[in-house]
């Protein structure tokens, strides 16, 4: 567990990331959430600055008001007290494909400088060195949400020049390439990593370092990145407020399921 001390607050790296992710959600937005950090972020946002955000899960819970943190997007905890219970087909077609999802959360084992993500396998695709679970809904969220927030472990080998398999398309090769491939909307807006926050240039769609987490420098982050990372203008990631930490610890995840 990494603990960051920024007097007078003490918070963990996971807490910082959850708060940073939560702040990407605006009030009244439709949020397509996944297991782990995205759930922490979505629940925190709903209980702080975005009380009217609509949380949806691909397994079929719409407008969730969770009293306990779920262990999966198919968990009964997502559906009790929800606005609507349906199935995957309804969520993917009527909501995601129809353009009703404002922000989707995704993650993966590898990510490149255009926000393309690999959660399928490392090595040769047909004879992989390491196999992961596969796309799940990540490819679909990456293709069809209005924007995506990516959660990533920040290590050199996980942020390489070229990833082994594009499970979830980001800005592909930058510029207009995403549109040219046939994708009608969306694209990654931010990558919240264990070391900082990456955003994307408006036209080239290349990632740049927006902020580095407290205790690190822009150079630290750049050195741990496998692709060339523009760090000009990067600032320190804003720290959690007392209220955010309080709600995160006491309301969102008192069992410390995902929080460290």
């Amino acid at each position: 567990m990494t603990t960051i001390s920024n007097p007078p607050l003490t918070y963990s790296l996971t807490e910082l990331m959850a708060v940073t992710a939560a702040r990407e959600i605006q009030d009244n937005e439709v949020v397509f959430a996944g297991t782990g950090l995205p759930m922490l972020g979505a629940m925190l946002a709903q209980k702080t600055h975005a009380p009217n955000c609509l949380i949806i899960f691909e397994a079929g819970a719409i407008g969730s008001r969770m009293r306990h943190l779920p262990m999966s997007v198919g968990d009964p905890r997502t559906v009790r007290g929800a606005a609507m219970a349906v199935g995957l087909a309804e969520v993917f077609t009527y909501m995601l494909q129809a353009g009703k999802v404002d922000v989707g959360f995704i993650s993966g084992a590898q990510i490149d400088r255009f926000g393309n993500i690999n959660s399928t396998s490392v090595g040769d695709y047909r004879h992989p060195a390491v196999r992961f679970p596969g796309s799940g809904g990540s490819c679909d969220i990456a293709c069809l949400a209005k924007r995506t927030v990516i959660i990533a472990q920040h290590e050199k080998r996980r942020l390489p020049e070229k990833i082994d398999y594009i499970t979830s398309p980001g800005w592909l090769t930058g510029g207009e390439s995403r549109k040219e491939a046939g994708l009608i909307r969306g694209g990654p807006s931010v990558v919240v990593t264990t070391k900082g926050v990456l955003r994307f240039r408006p036209t080239s769609h290349e990632a740049y370092l927006a902020s580095y987490h407290p205790g690190l420098s822009a150079e630290n982050v750049r050195d741990d990145t496998g692709f060339t990372l523009d760090t000009a203008g990067a600032f320190e990631t804003p720290i959690p407020t007392t209220e955010e930490l309080d709600i995160l610890r006491k309301v969102v995840d008192p069992e410390r399921i995902f929080l460290k």
Partner: protein
């Protein structure tokens, strides 16, 4: 009104080696686990599985050597185990044939089958390797009618020139097995909570077997026809199997079993331990009652859903030691 009730072993015996099959549920809820254990106990071989986001239902089935080929989007137990250990090992060792789609892609394929169409269009997957790459070779597809001859196709919309659609081929399976909360003897089925893709999976199968927590009277079901999941002709057999999804959750009945899932994931990382797990919970017991006895009544009682929640709100889910 004819009764569709059947015993679990008798139902599993209907599935021949080499059959095409889909299983209901999603990652950690409502998988027909009792049926899966029975398939393993009956030593089925060369099954072809179709699914979107299965969990340990597939993992134990393919770990036990029952499966030849899978078409899927994901295989893991989410926060209970972020990769299916036997799935990972099977792929890495070249012991299984597979094809990757996205969840939306697989669901689209089931929906096409349910709708009686050869395909459905979607706007997903463009630009990805889910779209660009194929795990099965053209030869493998050509040699086996259980798999679509084409992974997909692309077309331009005749209504909006320049707009591309991805066409995904319908799924048809010989069997679909679901686990749900309530059914009548006559085969009317009700799901509580999320439906996942259970309805469309059932509608593209020849034979649908539903294992169920509770048998309810016909009149109860017909008081709320809005809650019925499937038309009567879509359900072939009903087996009454309380706790039939353990170690996975069934909304309003019981929660996931974190201890059992932890034990499974630990065991499934190591070949010998996985065999020992199978010996203890599947081969070493005569039936599902034996399995439940091996898990233990105290544990099962601790999982029972609190009616105010539909799950067990005080269940310890992490840091079990």
């Amino acid at each position: 009104m004819m009764s569709k009730l059947i015993g679990l072993a008798e139902a599993a015996a209907l599935v021949p080696d080499g059959a095409t099959l889909s299983l209901g549920g999603f990652t950690t809820q409502r998988h027909p686990m009792a049926f899966v254990y029975e398939l393993i106990r009956q030593k089925k071989r060369d099954l072809y599985l179709f699914g979107h986001s299965p969990g340990g239902d597939w993992d134990i089935l393919l770990g036990a050597g029952c499966v030849k080929r899978v078409e899927l989007a994901y295989e893991a137990d989410e926060a209970f185990g972020t990769i299916g250990p036997r799935w990972r090992r099977a792929v890495q060792a070249g012991r299984i044939e597979w094809e990757d789609y996205s969840n939306f892609g697989m669901v689209t394929r089931f929906q096409a089958g349910a709708m009686g169409l050869p395909f459905l269009p979607t706007r997903t997957a463009f630009g990805s390797d889910v779209f660009a790459k194929e795990a099965l070779s053209a030869e493998q597809r050509a040699a086996d009618p259980r798999t679509s001859q084409l992974k997909q196709a692309v077309m331009e919309s005749p209504f909006q020139p320049g707009e591309k659609l991805l066409l995904l081929p319908a799924i048809h399976t010989e069997f679909c097995v679901l686990h749900v909360q309530k059914a009548t003897e006559s085969g009317l089925v009700r799901v509580e909570g999320q439906t996942f893709a259970d309805n469309i999976q059932a509608l593209c199968a020849d034979t649908v077997i539903v294992t169920v927590e509770e048998i309810v009277p016909e009149e109860v079901m017909r008081q709320e026809p809005e809650r019925t999941l499937l038309p009567p002709f879509a359900v072939t057999h009903v087996a009454h199997v309380p706790f039939g999804s353990h170690p996975y959750a069934v909304y309003n009945y019981y929660d996931s079993d974190p201890r059992q899932l932890k034990d499974y994931h630990a065991a499934a990382m190591i070949d010998e331990d996985f065999q020992a797990y199978l010996d203890k919970y599947v081969y070493g017991v005569p039936d599902f009652e034996g399995y439940l006895a091996a898990v233990g009544k105290t544990r099962l009682d601790s999982l029972k859903a609190d009616p105010d929640y539909g799950y067990s709100p005080n269940l310890k889910r992490r840091r079990l030691d």
